[in-house]
């Protein structure tokens, strides 16, 4: 492969990865507490929920859509899961119920977008409020807390020496990578985002596939809810506020284009880690929390600048 082709195909991911490594090196120089096994596992664990939600958003954004409701869906599926668990339902069944709630919300988004022809920004904005309100109504605004150790294993447990949420995150990325790169579903996802008209003309059932993509996104939010609930030993109806922005940020830093048709889950994983490492590093350094927002915003802007530069090369 020629250098130019390499840059066009992998340059962006490579650039993001270099950015992450550069960031780690800087932190390693600045503080002795960063590059330790326990801290790196700590960062991975803190990143897992955002990273899992961001996978779903990556699919959605590749189809040139957006989902603003992920944080609210997380809260709603979280409180339903928690109430079912508290009622004495077996863990596996309760998790299925939680995932189903998330998926239903996502599918509803998809139906409104595909069949109702409502722009994704608007329909998911509506769902953001509906799901949040439902979570508050369902709980009368109060958190539901106190679960069995077995359930909490999903967040506190370790498999070998790796925290369970990290294992779940890696499994999700493995599956997502396979689906996006090796299946018809994945190819169609790119095709829809690249040129929806052309996808329709070539016989792809665009409405069906788009609906499914939003369904997956909702389900992954619910998976995030499971881990969060286990982690805090509590499900809050106000959980997950602004998580949509974190997930969109991870996706965009990872090189997925908001115009659709381009993006990768590996990029998103790196993007999520850049955010996780930054927050961790700035905490370790004792940097003011106001400043952290400035830094993360700057990183997003730099990432998009990088995209523009690459796009110029491509043209």
């Amino acid at each position: 492969m020629k250098r130019r082709e390499f840059i066009i195909h992998y340059g962006r991911q490579f650039g993001t990865l270099l950015g992450l490594i550069g960031l780690c090196v800087v932190l390693w120089i600045l503080t002795p507490h960063f590059l330790t096994v326990s801290n790196l596992l700590n960062v991975a664990q803190q990143t897992s929920i955002n990273a899992i939600i961001a996978v779903g958003l990556t699919f959605v954004i590749i189809t040139a859509g957006i989902d603003l409701s992920v944080g609210s869906i997380l809260a709603f599926s979280g409180v339903v899961l928690a109430s079912v668990l508290r009622a004495g339902c077996p863990i596996a069944l309760a998790m299925l119920v939680g995932l189903a709630v998330g998926m239903m919300c996502g599918l509803l988004n998809g139906v409104l977008i595909s069949f109702g022809r409502i722009p994704p920004f608007i329909s998911t904005l509506g769902m953001m409020s509906v799901a949040r309100g439902s979570a508050l109504l369902y709980t009368s605004g109060r958190p539901i807390s106190g679960f069995s150790e077995n359930f909490r294993f999903l967040a506190t447990g370790k498999i070998l020496f790796i925290p369970a949420p990290v294992v779940i995150m890696l499994a999700v990325y493995l599956i997502a990578y396979f689906v996006l790169n090796r299946t018809k579903f994945g190819r169609y996802t790119y095709a829809i985002g690249g040129n929806e008209e052309a996808a329709i003309l070539s016989g792809i059932n665009v409405k069906l596939y788009k609906t499914m993509v939003y369904g997956i996104c909702g389900m992954l939010s619910a998976l995030g809810a499971i881990i969060l609930t286990a982690r805090l030993n509590s499900a809050q109806p106000i959980a997950g506020m602004m998580y949509e922005l974190d997930a969109i940020a991870a996706t965009v830093i990872g090189g997925t284009s908001l115009m659709g048709g381009q993006g990768s889950v590996i990029g998103t994983l790196i993007g999520a880690f850049i955010m996780g490492v930054l927050r961790n590093g700035l905490n370790l350094l004792g940097v003011s929390s106001f400043f952290q927002q400035v830094v993360i915003g700057s990183v997003i802007i730099v990432a998009v600048l990088m995209d523009m530069a690459l796009k110029k090369q491509r043209d």
Binding site: N39, I49, S145, L228, R231, N233, M241, N283, V287, V302
Partner: protein, 312 residues
């Protein structure tokens, strides 16, 4: 080439940012104590930070103050605590964003042998005991007592009869719940007082305005308002003034922020229950230092609470 250049500049930029944002890390020989509050964009916690800084300077403590961007972000607060544990701070002073949600974070600190002092908002004692966690002490005001003071004042001003609305904090927050409980306890002695509306405005000023405007719409004949914090009360007072009812509704609230004190001075607000966040911050660091010196400290360190009204 351009990409490489961009990358290079971004890394340099980041290094620069991290460098200039860095505070006096390891300048003094003293212990490192972290104060994790709910948020730093609320004057209450800024005062607490100031008090903590005073103590830290006096005792030669390296103080790290951190907070989530948003007051209710319990998961982010947990991340901050985890990161500070990695940072190997010597002691942690925490104002929990969630009373039960803080428990797993306390356990993690326990496992690393880092003493935890709870400030202002209690951790859920039952959940903590069940999980086998322990805290060094609780530093704060008795919010229940404060609520009772506010309620008694309301009864006195209304002469024992009238319609009252309540603006609640976030449900499930120990501070807000205790204030409400105390308030209800006090007004229960006056059967002439009727609570016509009790809704949350999530501690926020903007929501205080909107929620109270709606309450006023439904109950135009309200005589009194109790807000569980000043921000909500200040928001509600804008709604009162927008409705042209300034001076007709008795407002009693909590926290005694500077702005609320001014309102009391001007007679716009009847009273506000003062807590002393600066004092809490000062005591928190002082006693964290004592714990690190091996001293035993009391389980509860009360901070005074009193009503601010026009006469005093």
């Amino acid at each position: 080439m351009r990409t490489t250049l961009l990358l290079f500049t971004s890394v340099v930029l980041l290094a620069g940012l991290a460098g200039c944002g860095r505070n006096r890390d390891a300048e003094t020989q003293g212990p490192t104590i972290a104060l994790v509050v709910k948020t730093l964009n609320n004057p209450f916690f800024m005062d607490m930070q100031r008090g903590a800084e005073e103590s830290a300077n006096r005792l030669g403590v390296n103080l790290i103050v951190q907070a989530a961007d948003r007051e209710v972000d319990v998961e982010r607060q947990m991340q901050i605590i985890e990161n500070l544990i990695q940072r190997k701070v010597d002691a942690l002073c925490v104002t929990p964003s969630g009373t039960t949600e803080i428990v797993p974070a306390i356990l993690k600190a326990n496992q690393s042998g880092i003493p935890v002092l709870i400030v202002d908002t209690r951790a859920d004692v039952e959940a903590l005991e069940k999980a086998g966690g322990k805290t060094a002490t609780f530093i704060g005001s008795d919010n229940y007592e404060g609520g009772k003071i506010a309620g008694a004042f309301m009864v006195e001003l209304l002469g024992g009869a009238g319609k009252v609305a309540i603006l609640e904090g976030i449900p499930g927050h120990e501070t807000g719940d205790s204030r409400l409980k105390g308030f209800h306890e006090s007004i229960s002695v006056a059967p002439g007082i009727e609570v016509v509306a009790s809704q949350t405005a999530n501690w926020e000023r903007g929501q205080g305005f909107n929620v109270f405007q709606n309450i006023l719409e439904a109950n135009p004949d309200i005589d009194g308002l109790f807000a569980a914090n000043d921000l909500m009360a200040l928001g509600a007072m804008e709604a009162i003034s927008a409705a042209g009812k300034t001076g007709q509704i008795i407002v009693v609230s909590f926290d005694a922020l500077d702005e609320a004190r001014e309102a009391v001075e001007k007679g716009l607000m009847a009273g506000t229950v003062a807590q002393y966040p600066k004092e809490m911050g000062r005591i928190a660091i002082e006693y964290a230092f004592k714990v690190l010196q091996g001293e035993t400290i009391p389980e509860y360190l009360p901070v005074k609470i009193e009503l601010v009204k026009k006469e005093n």
